[in-house]
């Protein structure tokens, strides 16, 4: 894979393993993708397929000491993050690369005020100009928390779920990062609040011109704000497509299954579609394509070796033997 200078972030053959008593668990096994400037990329997959681990690796925050980035390169603005020291990484975190965590109700320290925590990205990157409190109030206003002047002194447990999530987003965008990783930002919220939060994220992205990696297992979320979709399965990327292509002509059988299993409003169905079987155990990966045991169109070769990445057209690639002939 060649290095494209326009890319903000580029992962090359990233492998992350967890070393447990039962053996090595390859949570992420050779993931390569890139994120362009001002792009919103959706990273989709089932629970445990390695989405979150991938994102934590970008921040170099894989849980230690069990987890380890085994190999691969993480190029951010053409600099390899793997070669950075912990101190250099700390300079980047919360400043150039930022992250929004999953569950807003537990993501904040309940014993510190929201303002205290919101101010952290400023304080630890020497960005405080004037009053830190005013900066936090402005930030809360930016994510549309009502009455930010009084809210800034509240504790996280006084915030509702939607407001906590806004506060987390505020913390993520505090220093206008180049890359914002949102790890299931709407999973813990109800649908109407989730829609508001997504709208807010899109607005902010337009304003700050940052790139976003949106991690989710909800295809509706992806459809709302993403420009490109990466489908992950059992530690690998199986399909990489623009949003249009993904919904119109998904190539990988797994992607097809995913789209089919979303119930459509107003179209009554007897039985919801589901993909047969279970995702493979991370301890015993199938030899060939990881999806082969569940795939209805699997052939002999699928069980023998892992398919290469095949370009279908510009900006649409898939890892599946079905397309190897063309």
């Amino acid at each position: 894979m060649h290095t494209n200078n326009d890319n903000l972030l580029e992962l090359q053959d990233l492998k992350v393993s967890f070393f447990t008593k039962q053996g090595e668990v390859k949570a992420v096994d050779g993931v390569s993708f890139s994120v362009g400037k001002e792009e919103i990329v959706g990273l989709v997959g089932e629970s445990g397929c390695g989405k979150s681990v991938t994102s934590l690796s970008i921040m170099r925050l894989v849980p230690q000491p069990a987890g380890k980035i085994v190999s691969g390169r993480i190029l951010f603005k053409n600099e390899d993050l793997m070669t950075k020291s912990e101190d250099q990484m700390r300079q980047l975190r919360g400043d150039r690369i930022s992250m929004i965590l999953q569950d807003p109700m537990v993501a904040m320290n309940q014993l510190l005020t929201v303002g205290e925590q919101l101010g952290e990205p400023f304080r630890f990157h020497d960005k405080v100009k004037g009053s830190l409190r005013d900066m936090c109030i402005a930030l809360l206003g930016k994510v549309k928390v009502p009455a930010p002047e009084s809210r800034v002194d509240d504790y996280p447990f006084q915030f509702s779920g939607g407001m906590s999530q806004r506060a987390l987003i505020a913390m993520g965008i505090a220093n206008n990062p180049d890359l914002l990783i949102a790890d299931e930002p709407t999973t813990a919220l109800d649908v109407s609040i989730a829609a508001q939060v997504l709208k807010l994220m899109k607005e902010i992205q337009k304003e700050t011109r940052s790139s976003i990696i949106l991690i989710t297992h909800d295809l509706a979320t992806v459809a709302q704000i993403c420009t490109r979709v990466l489908v992950m399965y059992a530690g690998r990327i199986v399909e990489n497509a623009t949003i249009k292509n993904f919904y119109k002509k998904p190539a990988h059988p797994y992607s097809k299954g995913l789209i089919q299993s979303v119930p459509v409003l107003g179209r009554p169905v007897e039985r919801l579609f589901s993909i047969d079987g279970q995702p493979p155990s991370l301890f015993e990966m199938p030899e060939g394509c990881r999806f082969s045991p569940r795939c209805s169109r699997a052939e002999k070769i699928c069980f023998e070796s892992y398919p290469p990445e095949i370009m279908l057209e510009d900006n649409h690639s898939v890892a599946c033997w079905l397309y190897a002939g063309n």
């Binding site: 921040m59 925050l61 849980p63 230690q64 000491p65 700390r90 300079q91 980047l92 975190r93 919360g94 400043d95 930022s98 992250m99 965590l101 999953q102 569950d103 537990v106 993501a107 904040m108 320290n109 309940q110 014993l111 510190l112 925590q117 952290e120 990205p121 630890f124 990157h125 987390l168 913390m171 993520g172 505090a174």
Partner: protein, 291 residues
């Protein structure tokens, strides 16, 4: 339909009247702190000044007792009540000094150990194991005899000996807290490790630390009293309950009040701290059992 099958309410197995216990503790501590704060006002006599003509007067309810010395006097004619009241200050000074000193060492090492993990953790924890395997009393004897017995020596030696308990408990809490999302969020925001340890994790462990401190203070008062009793703690003529016990020991057959009342003072204070500690644990940390 799960909600239809409501769980049978568990029977409250707490002993009846348990709720009144803290008041006993508060009462004991109340007396203790009154004595500490108002020692100069309450004490009828100067604790150091004796009058050999009024030596070994028994307490007021015995035949030869007099109202002038409610709890009697010792061999040198010093008022026992005044000495006990002033002795409370020494107990508090030493116990709080010890707790602050070894508590802060223990908490810091525990936080570092739990948060850093890996080799640092191993080194600190093995050191704690080593420390716990040393017979504390013997080390105390040794240090006290090398540095000369005094209140300062007691605080220092206890400080050196006492940290592993704190370190272990703080480490345990830290291990579970550091996997929580708020720590990850702090790291994502670019906080330094020091900031995470002391501003994010420490406030979350504070409950445990306070409970431990309250419970341990009782133990320390007993220990310092034993040290003084053995002649390795505070030295005469200062007022210290353990020292009073030691001095009164030889006259126990005919002047039992010389050991009874200092002993009672120790019992009441320790009981007060322990009951209050238990009560604090119950309200601050209902899920956790300490040791």
């Amino acid at each position: 339909m799960i909600h239809l099958f409501k769980k049978k309410k568990k029977k409250d197995t707490r002993p009846k009247g348990g709720i009144r216990l803290p008041y006993v503790g508060f009462f004991c501590l109340g007396i203790f702190f009154l004595a500490v704060i108002f020692a100069d006002v309450i004490a009828p006599y100067d604790p150091q000044e004796g009058d050999l003509f009024s030596s070994t007067i028994p307490p007021v309810w015995q035949e030869e007792g007099s109202l002038a010395h409610i709890l009697g006097t010792d061999m040198l004619g010093r008022d026992v009540l005044s000495r006990i009241i002033h002795g409370s200050r020494m107990s508090l000074l030493i116990s709080v000094g010890c707790i602050l000193f070894y508590g802060s060492i223990g908490v810091t090492l525990g936080l570092i150990s739990g948060f850093m993990g890996g080799r640092t953790d191993m080194v600190i924890m093995r050191m704690a194991d080593l420390w716990l395997s040393l017979p504390a009393i013997i080390v105390l004897f040794m240090l006290a005899s090398v540095h000369g017995p005094s209140a300062k020596t007691i605080i220092l030696t206890f400080g050196i000996m006492g940290w592993p308990n704190y370190a272990r408990i703080v480490r345990g809490e830290c291990l579970s807290l550091k996997e929580r999302d708020f720590v990850r969020l702090a790291r994502v925001a670019g906080c330094s490790k020091l900031r995470i340890m002391f501003s994010h994790i420490l406030p979350n462990i504070m409950n445990t630390i306070i409970i431990m401190a309250t419970i341990e203070i009782g133990g320390i008062i007993v220990l310092t009293a034993s040290m003084s009793f053995l002649g390795l703690g505070t030295q005469p003529p200062s007022c210290d309950w353990g020292l009073m016990l030691a001095e009164g020991r030889q006259y126990i057959t005919y002047a039992s009040w010389l050991v009874t009342f200092p002993g009672l003072a120790i019992v009441i204070t320790v009981l007060g701290f322990n009951l209050t500690g238990d009560w604090l644990r119950e309200i601050l940390d209902p899920k956790q059992k300490l040791r």
